[in-house]
Amino acid sequence: MNKIVVGLLCGLILGAIDGGTAWFYPETRSVIGGILVGSSIKGMIVGLLSGWFARKVESTKWGVVVGAVVGAVLGLLFACLVAAMQHDHYLEIMLPGFVTGAIIGFLTQTMGTPAWRRAHGTSLPQSK
């Protein structure tokens, strides 16, 4: 499984979990479906970008950083969208998005097949 697919799957699952925790706020239960969809899409975008980064750079540290930053930025965008509907939830969206992005970044670095292994099989190419 390549790292982009890993990112998409992890982003979908973690995004759904992140969105699902909104159920603990009674005022959001009426729109929980929309929150779940939006959060899952947000997670998949983070996963896609983190997976793409993981194919280019093999570094757990930078994978976590990139995932966290992308998660925070997308969280800000979504929070602005929600704020436009006159519901102010910047902290509730950005902070978990930041941590979820970090987790997705970590998972895309440690799981999935690295790009070089997909190109050359299970062993490094022999020098001639």
Binding site: D18, V99, F106
Partner: protein, 275 residues
């Protein structure tokens, strides 16, 4: 005139010095006694390099031919075999500058370095066994660690004369499993007294009195060592639950911290909103 024992020993050694007439070598000094012969440092006049010269007590060159067939980074290469004017067989091999494993293990080397040496020995055994060769006398004194960390296994195919009981399998017939026993004993030798139970279990499995209970071959033992170094469970040890959880935590520390951070953020936001 009485002659002391030390003088007699010296005279015997001088008398036993090999006559290298007709060879390309110049004798330097005796460096050890192993297997069925004596090992000397010598100089190859033609290639202007130092070599180790093993002069065998008998005319049998089987040991040299055995080693010469085994081309492996951890098996000392044989350059030449021949017969001295006095009829004794000899072979010239790489002169390894370094320390015997028994001396190396007494030094301040990390567990990782010690396991690396044992794994190199195991790889040499695996290579030799795959080609039908058996060491028969594997022990720390027959393993050299070079000055740059290279590992060489010496004295192949020579059954121990006396030998070191701790490294000799109790088997009636020496075969590959006897070498596995010896490899386990070497592993146990390099481990510190407070070594992890997984490593001690690997050594104990290799050193089982029943050959059928040992690792089937050297690659199986090496695979267990690799699993240990990768933080995975080893076949030799059925670890208790708390140890399995601790190992899981150690391998996945960052993930667990991130998940804990996620839960903490969620709880914090929930309580802040409900204050």
């Amino acid at each position: 005139m009485d002659v002391s024992d030390s003088v007699l020993d010296h005279l015997r050694r001088v008398a036993a010095l090999p006559d290298l007439t007709g060879t390309r070598y110049e004798l330097e000094t005796e460096i050890g006694r192993g297997g069925l012969g004596v090992v000397y440092a010598a100089r190859d006049r033609e290639l202007d390099r130092r070599v180790a010269l093993k002069v065998l007590d008998s005319a049998v060159v089987g040991e040299a031919q055995l080693i010469a067939r085994l081309e492996h980074p951890a098996i000392v290469p044989v350059y030449e075999t021949g017969t001295l004017p006095d009829g004794r067989a000899f072979y010239a091999m790489k002169l390894v500058v370094g320390a015997r494993l028994d001396h190396y293990a007494a030094g301040p080397h990390s567990m990782g370095e010690r396991l690396r040496v044992v794994r190199r020995v195991g790889e040499a055994l695996a290579f030799a066994h795959a080609r039908g060769a058996i060491h028969r006398d594997l022990k720390p004194q027959n393993v050299m660690v070079g000055e740059f960390g290279e590992v060489y296994v010496m004295d192949w195919g020579v059954e121990a004369v006396g030998g070191t009981p701790a490294f000799r399998a109790p088997d009636a017939h020496l075969d590959q499993r006897s070498d596995i026993f010896a490899l386990g004993a070497v592993l146990q030798f390099v481990l510190s007294p407070n070594a992890p139970p997984a490593l001690r279990a690997i050594a104990a499995k290799a050193m089982s009195a029943d050959p059928a209970s040992r690792y089937a071959n050297a690659p199986a033992l090496l695979a267990d060592l690799e699993r240990y170094q990768d933080g995975l469970a080893v076949e030799a040890w059925s670890e208790p639950l708390w140890h399995r959880l601790r190992r899981f935590g150690a391998r996945n520390a960052m993930l667990l911290w991130l998940l804990a951070a996620f839960a903490a953020v969620k709880f914090l936001l929930f309580f802040l909103r409900n204050l």
